[in-house]
Symmetry: D2
Subunit: 342 residues, 4 copies
Amino acid sequence: MTVSVAVAGASGYAGGEVLRLLLGHPEVEIGALTAGSNAGERLGSLQPHLLPLADRVLVDTTVETLAGHDVVFLGLPHGQSAAIARALGEDTVVIDCGADFRLTDPGEWAAFYGGEHAGSWPYGLPELPGQRELLRGARRIAVPGCYPTVSTLAIVPAIAAGLVEPDVTVVAASGTSGAGKAAKPHLLGSEVMGNASAYGVGGTHRHTPEIVQNLSGVHGSPVRVGFTPLLVPMSRGILATVQAPLLDGVTAAGVRDAYAAAYADEPFVHLLPEGQWPQTQSVLGSNAVQVQVAVDERVRRLVAVAVVDNLAKGTAGAAVQCMNLALGLDEATGLSTIGLAP
Amino acid sequence: MTVSVAVAGASGYAGGEVLRLLLGHPEVEIGALTAGSNAGERLGSLQPHLLPLADRVLVDTTVETLAGHDVVFLGLPHGQSAAIARALGEDTVVIDCGADFRLTDPGEWAAFYGGEHAGSWPYGLPELPGQRELLRGARRIAVPGCYPTVSTLAIVPAIAAGLVEPDVTVVAASGTSGAGKAAKPHLLGSEVMGNASAYGVGGTHRHTPEIVQNLSGVHGSPVRVGFTPLLVPMSRGILATVQAPLLDGVTAAGVRDAYAAAYADEPFVHLLPEGQWPQTQSVLGSNAVQVQVAVDERVRRLVAVAVVDNLAKGTAGAAVQCMNLALGLDEATGLSTIGLAP
Amino acid sequence: MTVSVAVAGASGYAGGEVLRLLLGHPEVEIGALTAGSNAGERLGSLQPHLLPLADRVLVDTTVETLAGHDVVFLGLPHGQSAAIARALGEDTVVIDCGADFRLTDPGEWAAFYGGEHAGSWPYGLPELPGQRELLRGARRIAVPGCYPTVSTLAIVPAIAAGLVEPDVTVVAASGTSGAGKAAKPHLLGSEVMGNASAYGVGGTHRHTPEIVQNLSGVHGSPVRVGFTPLLVPMSRGILATVQAPLLDGVTAAGVRDAYAAAYADEPFVHLLPEGQWPQTQSVLGSNAVQVQVAVDERVRRLVAVAVVDNLAKGTAGAAVQCMNLALGLDEATGLSTIGLAP
Amino acid sequence: MTVSVAVAGASGYAGGEVLRLLLGHPEVEIGALTAGSNAGERLGSLQPHLLPLADRVLVDTTVETLAGHDVVFLGLPHGQSAAIARALGEDTVVIDCGADFRLTDPGEWAAFYGGEHAGSWPYGLPELPGQRELLRGARRIAVPGCYPTVSTLAIVPAIAAGLVEPDVTVVAASGTSGAGKAAKPHLLGSEVMGNASAYGVGGTHRHTPEIVQNLSGVHGSPVRVGFTPLLVPMSRGILATVQAPLLDGVTAAGVRDAYAAAYADEPFVHLLPEGQWPQTQSVLGSNAVQVQVAVDERVRRLVAVAVVDNLAKGTAGAAVQCMNLALGLDEATGLSTIGLAP
């Protein structure tokens, strides 16, 4: 099988990472690469790490340039995906790395993003219970946000097994690439190196309702989620610390068993051996999620820690994984669980 | 007034930072500089940033080398301070940057540090309600741990004002200097750059009982504290995210008022204007703590964020602040609220 | 003496660093703080590390807001200083942190900056032979560029003593703050962390003619300078490696003696003991320059290495040092040789 | 073809990177993984980024554990390779990532490493003129040092084409992983973050004679090389600035043509388009070398800049490339020119 693929937003971080992964995918032929203001430039001047594509020239992001491919990845600012998706054929696999189609509740969309809700597409987190089946053969897929991916996978086994109260606290430290490539003063190297900061505090970050949606769907009733994102001095990676009160009688062994069972057959989510804690470096460039759990007996709370590469499994890796499912390929094709360290 | 000062452990990070601050202190004459295995070396080869002291030679850490000074700062591994303190005269101001005399409860000492409890000294966090008076004129002072300093100051106004349940969750991201200068593989630059990790998860970090002690003392009854430390790629600074469930009827305005009142007269703790969030870069090298609070109405939780330089206000700055109180000097002498940024 | 000082460009990196140093200067009263597009904002929102000035409001950069002060520091984009300086009284000390008045040769100005040459002011590098006297009492001073400061000080003793051929190669690795606070994509944290790059290669960087001017002035005839700047992942600091062919008969001891003699009485330039090599961390936030020299006998070349904080001695520290000279104060007032490390 | 491979020193950085690459090599079966003091441990606790090998247990580095494989990679401290290589069969492909067999001149070995010279093996830099043929079918290969790889490739086209004087100056900024995983205080994260330093200045670094050997071999007579290594705050990557005086009549166009011709058919060395300068981020994890050249007309000097991942093409990637040549496989098998950025 050779699948023709177009990437919209090829000059950005999400688009660049999709291309990095597609270059290692055996069934893919890379077609149109599109951009907004960067249209007309060589990819090599914008993504100099993608040497095999250096001489490709970016074209405008339009329905015409994207049409005619088997798969179209969208790495666009939110609000731009719906019109393009509507114009592409129903048989085209459209995988949106943006937020437009992640939320099912128009009220939550309005509250956190504003404006009209575009709708919702199958949510591209195959590791959610029951979700993988919805993605096989799908023609429209919404790639999860990076924070929701790692936060959800850190705690969902405990929610699914009924081990904790539906009252979850997430504090997640992220590298800067999650904020994208648009130049903003507070994201300058001089500002972020040697610096840690909090932002979107108090439940205002747009990824909050997405975590709520994921966990509530598994729990079967609303889960309360308090989410605090931190910015720390690294380009890639998120480390999420996710906590919830343990229900009476739940033991550390019981927690461990639940996680081991939940992830035993998952190709990309890995529960670390006892005593070993996740670090983001281990998953850089890879599609792996590394998870560890502890029970804090003094406060009877579950503390789960998980790491992900925000651009890989947190965005582009998930997108490719979903493409594989959509096309009936082996889910892990072109993806890796090997990180780049040190 | 000219005060003669000795520093034990002058080749380490805490000792070096004490010296950096003392060099800017108008009432101090720097006397003996002592070390363990580095005795005999020029300070300039070990602390090349302290140019005015470059030609000083380190001597052995003994009672003899330390005796005869008005003030002795101890920057030693835990377990070594008690014997030295006993042998120094009662009139000598002894300020211990280590953990030996921080905890009042021998059971907590045994549980987290092991071995025999050396006792407890006045706890050097003047910003704790009622604590400043205990430090004026004191001759033995235990400098708080870096995590307890920032975590306590982030939440204590809410505890003191009775705004939250006594159930506190701390996730604190720290630079690497808190781990000291001893060479360990996981602290190599290659391992920590581009990497975030969790450690001491599940309530096992030794600073946990110290936070409990601080908050419970203010609350008047036990406060539950879940503490998770993170290591992030920077040398200095801690950013603590501290959360607790809000009691019924408490409003965001009420929270803000409580913090504003608590810190209105504090020289070093600063509540930021609404909408501005703390970043560690702002306090590098300074004795300032910057704090901000939010109310997450969806989960009815208080989210406080505070930053500190772990070596400055988190260790050496607090030590100098306490020396000032002990000697009857203006508390802010030789200290600054100006950070080094960018 | 109390000197009233205004700072134009107070929201930028150079202006912020001038303010950080002035806050520690005993003879200064900080007056107007001006900005371009940031006028009207609180300084605390732009320079949150300068807590004592947090509530000051920035005003427009105009002759009116700047007039009436004893000293005016200009931290403006090049091309804007001349008009302002002309309008300020001749008695006002005007210290330009920009490039407008550094070069004496209009041809070099045209070649590297373009446009009309504004003229030249006394050049604010007191450590250049004979230069200090020109700065005492001066009313107009051009602060040197950061690269020229460290590069010149690294090699000028060898030039002055006639130890090397007038054929100098500089490779200097800089932190990102030298590029300023304007948001550009290639200066984003995601782009600079974990990354080293070269720019301005082939003698095109604007600091090249300034190094030539400094060295040729000392040499008495033209010195050839090849200059290559590198960008490395840190906020502050420059490490310059400066090389030149040794003349016949020159020995390592002779080189060392020349450097020791040249800097024996300098308050801020420090020749390290043999065997110890400079590192930028040692001078962060300080006005010190640390220098070391070696002779590579195989290739008969002098290799000098020097470090400076580009924002401190490389810009704002030099500016304050020059102000002290201009006003007849002790040259080191308000300045330090103590770095912030680790 | 399936090739069985053993890796000695699998817990170190070189060994880990060899394994990372071998996991993506289609013709390889990974056999024994050996270590010194880490023998007996799970690889997952030491190299947590290599998930597919996490449960492998390290065995002692002995002739017995290494024997019986088709290929043995040695990632050992220098001095340990000779004895092992002698004991392994002559048909075994032995690829030494260490220094023992790189230098041909026993005098240079003695001067820079001390002790007895073990001899020399075919030097694993296929891009050196004539070198590739020596590596096809070889059974003993010495992998070049990281600095010599990037420095040599930056300047060798100009040497080979007779464009420059045989008088080369190298200043190369390296990440910290080149110093290995042994814990030393000056390599701690706290020491290297926010810090740039020089070391081995004055021609004393052990990689100096290796660069001399490479360039002199191509030149046909001795080339003088002055080499200064810098340590900058990143884990991986080297950026080398290599300069030499241009011979009369040589033009920028002539230089560019020589480089374009030299690297036209090289799979891993890439001359960037005019105006684009190399950055280390572009080659992280890849086997690519990116090169750019400029002519500084004012000083008539060639300035070449090249980047490499010191662990990949600088060590382990070269090792795998050489294995491919030794075994008659396509030289690029299992290797990539795609970097991990941002």
